[in-house]
Amino acid sequence: MIEVKNLSKSFGNVEVLQDINTTFVKGKVNQIIGKSGSGKSVLAKCIVGLYVPTKGQVLYNGESFHDMDKDQKKQLRQEIGMLFQSNALFDSLTVMENVMFPLKMFATMSEREMRERALFCLKRVKIEGQGKKFPAEISGGMQKRVGIARAIAMKPKYLFVDEPNSGLDPQTSIVIDELIQEITEEYETTTIVITHDMNSVMGIADEIYFIHNKRLWWQGTRPELLKSDNQELQEFIFAGSLMRQVRKAMKSG
C-alpha cells in the first residue's frame, strides 16, 4: 500500500500539485487520470522518488520514503517496477539483456537462473522469440512488452506505468492493458497507471484518481465514475465522441 500525505510540488514559483492526500490500494490497478499538463506524471515521479515533494510525504507500507536512508531507498527500489512512456529500454543491450539487467545488478542467482527468469518474463509477455533483437529492431508494442518484462523481472511489489497506450494502435493498447491487469493480480502489486486514455480507464481501472487544478479533484471506482455529477470530471471523461455515445446510451437506459 502507498499513502500520499499533504503532498505539494512546485518548480520554482510554479506550483504543479497542491495538498494531495490519498491511498493506492494493493493488488489493484490504480489509475491517475487528468488532462495533459495536469501534474499526473509529476505525482508519479514524486511517489517513486524521482522528484522530492516541496511539502508532504509518501509512505510505503507506513514508512516515509524521504526519511529512509540511502540503503533503505535502494532496497525499496528493487521492489519497484516501472514502465516508462518512452519505454526507456537500453538501446545498446538486446531484449534479453534488458530484461536480465536488474537481475544482474541485484539478484543473487547464477547466470543460467537469470537467463531462465528473463526468458520466463519474456514468455509471460509473449515475446520470447525476440530475445536476441535490439530495442530499435522491434515494434512500439513489443517495446512496451519488453518494458513490462523488465519491470516484473525482480517480482516487484509496486508497479508504475506511465502512459502505457501512447503511440499504440487500439488493439495493441487493449493487449497491454490486459497484461498490466493480469500482472497486478498475479504478483499482487500496488499498480499505479498514469493515463488520459478513457478506453484504458474503462477497461482495467479498479480505482480512479482525477487530478485537476493541481489537486486530487475526484476519486472513485469505474461505476462511480460514470455516475458522478462532478462537472470537471464529466467534461474530461466525456470529451471523446465514443464516451459521449456511452453517456447517451446510459441516459436512454
Binding site: G49, K74, A88
Partner: protein, 246 residues
C-alpha cells in the same frame, strides 16, 4: 553564483560517482568496453595528428633557427622537448576533449532525455556511478598509452619530415632527440595526461548527466562539454606546470 552552483553540483555528482558500486564485475566489464570505445578508437586520429605535429615542429624550428652558430641537432632537441612537455599531453588532450568529451556528453545526455537514467535510478542502480565511473577509469588508464604513442609518432614524424625534405640529417636529428634527456619530463607529461583524462571524463559526463529537454539540448550539452573541458584543461595545465616544473 551560477558558477559556484555548477562547481558544487559537479563535486556532489563526483561524490555519487565514487560511492560503492553494486557489482564490481559489471563495472569492470563496462570499463573495458569504454577503454575500447574512448581509447582504442581514438588511436587513428591521435596517430595522424601526432605525425603531422612532429613534422611541422621540425620544419618550423629549422626555418626559425637557421643560423650557423646554432648546432643542427637543436631541431631534434626542440621537437622532443616541445612534444613531450606540451604538444602530446596538452594538445592531444584538447583534441580528445573534442572527440571523447562530446561522445560522453551525447551518450549520457541522450540517456537522460530518453528516461533511461530515471529507469536506472528507479531500479535502485546508482546511475552516476554505473555510467560515469567506468568512463573515468577507462580514460585515466588508456590516455597515458595514447600519449606515449603520440610522443613516439610525433618525434618520428619530425624525423621523417626532416630527412625526406633534406633540411636535417638523420644523425643530427637523432643526436638532438637523445641530447640531455631527463626522464622526469615524461613523468610530468603522464601526470598531466591522467589529470586531463579525468577532467575530460568528469566535465563531459556532468554536462550530459544534467541535460534537460530534448535532442537539441543534447547537442548543446556536447558543445558545452568540449568547451568547458578545454577551459579546465588549460587552467589545470598552467597550475600543474607551476607545481611540477618550477
Amino acid at each position: 553564483m551560477s558558477l559556484l552552483y555548477h562547481i558544487g553540483r559537479y563535486f556532489m555528482l563526483l561524490g555519487e560517482v565514487f560511492s560503492k558500486p553494486e557489482r564490481l564485475s559489471i563495472y569492470w566489464k563496462r570499463t573495458v568496453e569504454e577503454m575500447d570505445l574512448l581509447g582504442v578508437k581514438s588511436l587513428g586520429i591521435v596517430s595522424l595528428l601526432s605525425l603531422f605535429m612532429g613534422a611541422v615542429i621540425t620544419i618550423q624550428t629549422k626555418t626559425n633557427i637557421d643560423s650557423p652558430l646554432i648546432p643542427q641537432y637543436v631541431v631534434g632537441f626542440t621537437v622532443r622537448q616541445s612534444t613531450i612537455l606540451e604538444f602530446s599531453p596538452t594538445i592531444i588532450s584538447l583534441i580528445l576533449a573534442g572527440k571523447v568529451g562530446s561522445t560522453i556528453a551525447a551518450e549520457i545526455g541522450s540517456m537522460r532525455v530518453r528516461e533511461q537514467i530515471d529507469a536506472l535510478d528507479i531500479m535502485g542502480v546508482n546511475s552516476a556511478g554505473y555510467l560515469i565511473l567506468p568512463k573515468i577509469i577507462a580514460t585515466a588508464l588508456i590516455n597515458p598509452f595514447l600519449i606515449i604513442i603520440s610522443m613516439f609518432l610525433s618525434i618520428f614524424g619530425g624525423w621523417l619530415a626532416g630527412t625526406l625534405s633534406g633540411i636535417i640529417s638523420s644523425s643530427d636529428y637523432i643526436t638532438g632527440v637523445q641530447y640531455d634527456f631527463d626522464p622526469y619530463i615524461v613523468t610530468y607529461a603522464l601526470i598531466k595526461t591522467v589529470v586531463f583524462a579525468v577532467i575530460i571524463a568528469t566535465v563531459s559526463a556532468y554536462q550530459g548527466y544534467y541535460t534537460t529537454g530534448g535532442t537539441r539540448e543534447v547537442g548543446i550539452s556536447s558543445t558545452k562539454a568540449v568547451v568547458y573541458s578545454d577551459v579546465v584543461i588549460l587552467i589545470a595545465n598552467y597550475l600543474l606546470t607551476q607545481l611540477l616544473l618550477l
